[in-house]
Structure formats: structure tokens, C-alpha cells
């Protein structure tokens, strides 16, 4: 069963074995507003947690997307480069950013589960 974890930088990570899919949360896309540009990492790149992994730009501003866990990029979602509005319309579906092959899947325990993330976001409002 895949599990979904969340970072304090408002990324979600869907973990299935040693594979992880990464995107930004619905809260994050709401804060950004209309997304107009996405830059994704090259496939094959090695990431450490906290590395600048992607760029997401709304009409208002540019933001970094950080690698939530260590791993190698195995796929990047070209569909959001062609149509960045997918990040707004389906942030946790078609609007995913990239997939990682995790260096150590157990590290995911350091991220928040859904209830903890919800409490975290409520604390920001």
C-alpha cells in the first residue's frame, strides 16, 4: 500500500516501496495562485533532502520545490511544463512534479502524516 507523507515546505510524497512521487500540496497551490511556469529536475540527478529540486512560478512570485528525501530522479512530469495550470487544478494528482528512487525509504518516517500536516497547516492560518 502506498503511503503519503508531507514536508514542512508543503510537498507531498507518495511512497510505494523504494519509489516516491513528489508534488506540492493543495494548500501550497492555493497560496501560490495561478501557476504559469514549472522547471523540473533532470532525470538521473541525485538529490539530498533540502536540495533545490524544481521551480514553480505563479503570476505573483517564484518558489523553490525542495527534495523531501534523498534519491535519484527517475521521472519528471512534462505535462505540467506544457500546462502549468494542472498544478492548480490537480496538485495531488496529474499535477505531480517528479519521481524519485529513494536511497533509503525508511527516512520517510521523518515526514508528517496527513493528520500532522493538517494540524501544521491549521497552525499557519
Amino acid at each position: 500500500m502506498p503511503t503519503v507523507r508531507y514536508s514542512k515546505d508543503h510537498e507531498w510524497v507518495r511512497i510505494d516501496g523504494n519509489e516516491a512521487t513528489v508534488g506540492i500540496t493543495d494548500y501550497a497551490q492555493g497560496q501560490l495562485g495561478d501557476v504559469v511556469f514549472v522547471e523540473l529536475p533532470d532525470v538521473g540527478r541525485d538529490m539530498k533532502p533540502g536540495d533545490n529540486a524544481a521551480v514553480v512560478e505563479s503570476v505573483k512570485a517564484a518558489s523553490e520545490v525542495y527534495a523531501p528525501l534523498a534519491g535519484k530522479v527517475r521521472a519528471a512530469n512534462k505535462a505540467i511544463v506544457d500546462d502549468p495550470s494542472k498544478v492548480n487544478s490537480a496538485p495531488q494528482g496529474d499535477g505531480w512534479f517528479f519521481k524519485l528512487t529513494l536511497a533509503s525509504p525508511d527516512d520517510a518516517a521523518s515526514l508528517m502524516d496527513e493528520a500532522a500536516y493538517k494540524a501544521y497547516v491549521d497552525g499557519l492560518k
Binding site: 495562485g33 495561478d34 504559469v36 511556469f37 522547471e39 503570476v59 505573483k60 512570485a61
Partner: protein, 370 residues
């Protein structure tokens, strides 16, 4: 712009209405202001297609009274105010002794005074500056009890005429004291979007009622500061603090058109020596429009280089133009690289991206000139 903790932020007379409408509020120039209601893109497009209502009450409004008001103001700005008839308005700049820009402002000639509107972030400094130059038959009265609404877009005239029929006959850059839905207002045909539209100076205690009246019309939606910025960028209009400031002159900024013919001969405004010299021989650098290739927006402070990598300037405003569905930017470049069509590069996150110098505005202005 000044950023203050939320508790210290000033609120406009429409604060309660913004919250009722579900606005996302941000700190801007010391005020708690709506940045968006539904979304910048939708608000921007709505303003270009129908009509948008903006709260710009944070801006500073004042009147200059006295027989010497025109003469006093002309010692501070390069515009010809003297030639303006009653009811006419002019865009101008307060300059410093080096020819830099202290602020940009609108001046309207009233029957017995001048009405001025300045930027929120500069109003305290501007009013003190003007007050210190108004000795002898001139005095400044700050209008802190007035709100300012802007109704902008192709449907603005039809909407406003329902409540103030004479606005149909108001020419671009002119103003009249009118009752709008029985509220006494100073209405000007002007704005900051490139569209036809009006700015309405209204007593603070009547502002919410007026805003509700206008928002009840089917063509009108509330528009936040986010779309105000994308609209003015597409229209090629300067934002004080970004595109113009004390380090830029009116000639560099492409605002030479604001300098009156008589003032070019007689001078008599701060920084005239430099500004008139630049008019004669051309400025060292110029504000230009830039069209980046590809989809990546180039924000303020992005370096501008030649195709060989030599730095020739910097972006001062940049982002995404919703009406053009592409990134757009403005910035200053050395005069030798300022001609439309010049190929340059914008260095975004360390990567040089091709861009082309282009004529401003990006989107044709649709002012109704009579």
C-alpha cells in the same frame, strides 16, 4: 514599500468589505490590502473584458490651496501645470536636485485648488516635501478622510453612467465633481490598467456604500493589487519603487513626454540641469519592454546581458502577462541596446534566456480620448 507587522497595518474604509468578499489580504505600503479575491488571472481578464473595481484608498490625496499653488508645484515637477484648464489632469513626477524621481503623481486643476494623488509608500514624504516648498500664498491640505476607488475596463463607462450620467462626456485625463448614486465625488477619467475607466475620490464614510452599489452591477467584480500589477505591467506603466525611483531620471524612464514645452526652455524644477541635458543629448540608459522567449518569467533584478554575456542592464518589473499568455518584463538597458528588436539575454537562476527589446505598451491602451 514598508512592511509592518499586521497589528500596525492601517486599514482602508473598505476593509470590512474586502473581508466579506473573501479577499486574501497582504501588507502593502503599511496598509492591509486585498491582493486577490478569486485569482489574479481571472481578475485581470475580467478587467480587460468588462469592469473591475479596485480599492486604492491607500494612495495619498491632498489639495493645494492659494493663489501661488500652481507656481509652487511647478518648482517641484517638470510638467506644465499653468497651461492646464480647470478640470484637466496631468501625470507628472516630483524630481530631486539630481534629476531622480521622488514619486509619480496625478495633478488635477480644481476651480480654486490643485488636487493631487500620490503613491501610498511615498505620501508622508511627498506631503512634507511639498509643504516645505509652499511658503507664501500656498498651503497643502491632506485629505485623510477620503477613499479612492478605481473602476476600470471597457464596461466602466456604461456602469458608472447609470449612477452619474455626465461621466459619458468626461474626456480622458479630465475630472469633475459629480454625485454618484447621490454621493458627492471627484470623478476622473484615468487609471492604471491601460483600459478606459475612472478613479473616484469619495468621502470615507460613503465609500463602502458606493463600492457595494458598483459591485452589484453585473459587469463589475472586485479586483486586488495582484491584477492591478499585471494590468499596469502589460500597459507599460511604471511602478514607483520598482521602475522609477531616485536613481532614475524621467528621460531614462521614458517619461520625457511629461515634461512641458515651456519647462524645457525655462527649467525651474529640481534636477533641470541633468534632465534638460538628457533631453538634448539622450540618456545613458533607457527603460524598455522585454519579451522573453519561452515560458520562464524574469522578475525584478534579473540581469540583462548582450548575446555575448556583457551586462547591459537589469529588469525592474517582470512576470506573466495574462492577456498575452506569456512572460513580459520591463527594465533599463544601456542606450546602445535599447532599440526595439535588439536581441538580449535575461539571466534567470544563472541561465541566460533569450529576450527581445520591444515597444511599450505590451497591450494597446484603450483610453477614450475626446
Amino acid at each position: 514599500m514598508t512592511q509592518s507587522p499586521e497589528s500596525e497595518l492601517q486599514k482602508t474604509p473598505l476593509d470590512r468589505l474586502h473581508r466579506k468578499l473573501g479577499a486574501k489580504m497582504v501588507a502593502f505600503a503599511g496598509y492591509d490590502m486585498p491582493v486577490q479575491y478569486l485569482g489574479i488571472m481571472a481578475e485581470h481578464r475580467h478587467t480587460r473584458q468588462a469592469a473591475g473595481l479596485f480599492d486604492v484608498s491607500h494612495m495619498g490625496q491632498a489639495q493645494l490651496h492659494g493663489a501661488n499653488a500652481v507656481r509652487a508645484l511647478e518648482t517641484l515637477v517638470p510638467a506644465d501645470i499653468k497651461e492646464l484648464g480647470v478640470g484637466r489632469m496631468r501625470y507628472t513626477v516630483l524630481t530631486d536636485h539630481k534629476g531622480g524621481i521622488l514619486d509619480d503623481l496625478m495633478v488635477t486643476v480644481g476651480a480654486d485648488h490643485l488636487h493631487i494623488v500620490v503613491n501610498a509608500s511615498r505620501k508622508a514624504a511627498d506631503f512634507a516635501h511639498i509643504a516645505s516648498h509652499t511658503e507664501g500664498g500656498c498651503r497643502i491640505e491632506v485629505l485623510s478622510n477620503r477613499a479612492l476607488l478605481a473602476l476600470q475596463g471597457p464596461a466602466a463607462v456604461e456602469v458608472l453612467a447609470r449612477f452619474a450620467p455626465p461621466v459619458r462626456h468626461l474626456a480622458f485625463m479630465s475630472a469633475e465633481t459629480l454625485t454618484v448614486s447621490d454621493i458627492p465625488c471627484l470623478v476622473s477619467r484615468s487609471g492604471y490598467t491601460g483600459e478606459d475607466g475612472f478613479e473616484i475620490s469619495v468621502p470615507a464614510d460613503a465609500a463602502e456604500a458606493l463600492a457595494e452599489t458598483l459591485l452589484a452591477e453585473p459587469e463589475v467584480k472586485p479586483i486586488g493589487l495582484g491584477a492591478r500589477d499585471t494590468l499596469r505591467l502589460e500597459a507599460g506603466l511604471c511602478l514607483y519603487g520598482s521602475d522609477i525611483d531616485t536613481t532614475t531620471t524621467p528621460v531614462e524612464a521614458g517619461l520625457a513626454w511629461t515634461i512641458g514645452k515651456r519647462r524645457r526652455t525655462d527649467g525651474g524644477f529640481p534636477g533641470a540641469a541633468r534632465i534638460l541635458a538628457e533631453l538634448a543629448t539622450g540618456p545613458r540608459r533607457r527603460r524598455v519592454g522585454l519579451l522573453p522567449e519561452g515560458k520562464a518569467p524574469a522578475r525584478a533584478h534579473t540581469p540583462i546581458t548582450t548575446s555575448f554575456g556583457a551586462t547591459v542592464g537589469e529588469v525592474t518589473s517582470g512576470g506573466f502577462g495574462p492577456s498575452l499568455d506569456r512572460p513580459i518584463a520591463m527594465g533599463y538597458v544601456d542606450a546602445a541596446h535599447a532599440a526595439p528588436g535588439t536581441a538580449l539575454q535575461l539571466v534567470v537562476r544563472g541561465k541566460p534566456l533569450p529576450a527581445t527589446v520591444t515597444k511599450l505598451p505590451f497591450v494597446p491602451r484603450r483610453y477614450i480620448k475626446k
